[in-house]
Symmetry: C2
Subunit: 215 residues, 2 copies
DNA sequence: ATGCGTATACTCGCTCACGAGTAGTCAAGG
DNA sequence: CCTTGACTACTCGTGAGCGAGTATACGCAT
């Protein structure tokens, strides 16, 4: 049911999880998250960080402790998590973990308008993607193996998950690309004709009239 | 390098691709998209739709034609795509297709704070997710098979992709769940102790001091 | 005729995310 | 001892995104 969270931004989750370990000021949260490699997946957005912390405070999920001034630096407010914050954190994780939700990826969007390109060009671009994906996967795999020598698995599962998904994407792209280059993709000829001449094959034209209606 | 698009919202891509077929007014775009099953993946947000169309117009990617009034209904402005719009569409698809980009999923976020739960509870929740995922996958598979009897593959690749990714997620969750329930997950005992008593095992405590720093 | 539900076709105003800017501090180099 | 560049620590304005509301029209039953 995905109940509306008081603070919906996923960065709030990261902030809460950082504050569970120890009280901190916002800038330190950023460093801690960065050290955990969270910035790999989720670029740290400064604007959001401070807004999120404020919102968390407004809803009583964190509270400001003493504000320390060290050196001539601007005063830093140290925040700590409240009981309500801890409750929100666990409840939120429970929800995120148990109930899958539909997320729209940019690649999905691209595939859904694939027909605007010619099959040849589509194949070229997919080939580019494939090599990029493979390179990235290899790099992340070695980085993970590296990290695994120090850090327990528990803190690396999210990366394992992402790698699993990345592998699936590679498999899909490779498959599709194979069909395109070998010519076994069904309807490839029609697609080719359409992209060259703009002529829609008759059985398709009929479909478009009444709207192609999956499901 | 993922150049900034004039109109960055992915809904703009859908709008452009709809207008390539024929000129329409915004509400009709929504119906067309819905008929294409685009709303399955991407809920139609009314607020965005009209803003996006306006922005597209502002940047010369679409242009308003005559505004038709039929019956006593509010006047509908019919938009058509411009040459610049067509160029933007293909260029955008090219980019989306060729260059993978890191997207942060909610499940990844959840996994990255998995440690706040006890292993037992994590296993329960993952089991819930697993059944939900399997049910959804089965439904989507039959829906796809159904659609495939009418609609050419070309217009279903995005759904195939999503199913492939969904399968990978299921595989991952099943694997992780298996390790948790069978007790073969490395460090499970430490995790259990920590979740019950809050005591961090010594070799881990040391890590947290200097920051666990993957890569 | 009249009421009611549903489809059409938007509009408005709030919230939230974020990038780019700012301003002080420190360390090192010339 | 002065400059330069990197780091610390935030602030603020902009603008995108969206949900909820609105208003009219049509069809169908009563």
């Amino acid at each position: 049911m995905a109940k509306r969270r008081k603070v919906g931004n996923l960065m709030a989750l990261a902030v809460l999880s950082a504050l569970v370990q120890q009280p901190m000021h916002p800038y330190q949260m950023a460093s801690v998250l960065r050290e955990h490699g969270k910035d790999q997946n989720m670029k740290i957005k400064w604007g959001s960080l401070y807004t999120v912390v404020q919102n968390l405070e407004k809803h009583g999920l964190v509270e400001a402790g003493e504000s320390v001034r060290q050196g001539g630096r601007p005063e830093r407010t140290v925040y700590r998590i409240t009981d309500a914050g801890r409750a929100e954190l666990t409840d939120w994780v429970r929800e995120l973990l148990s109930t899958p939700e539909h997320e729209q990826s940019r690649f999905t969007a691209a595939l859904s308008v694939l027909a605007v390109l010619s099959p040849g060009e589509a194949a070229d671009l997919l080939a580019q993607r494939l090599t990029a994906l493979e390179k990235a996967l290899a790099a992340r795999r070695t980085a993970l193996a590296e990290a695994a020598r120090e850090v327990p698995r528990l803190f690396l599962v999210e990366e394992e998950y992402e790698l699993a998904v990345a592998e699936a994407e590679i498999g899909f792209v490779r498959g599709l690309l194979g069909e395109l280059t070998s010519g076994t993709f069904p309807g490839l000829a029609d697609w080719q004709v359409f992209s060259e001449t703009g002529v829609v094959p008759p059985e398709l034209a009929e479909l478009m009239e009444r709207g192609l209606h999956p499901q």
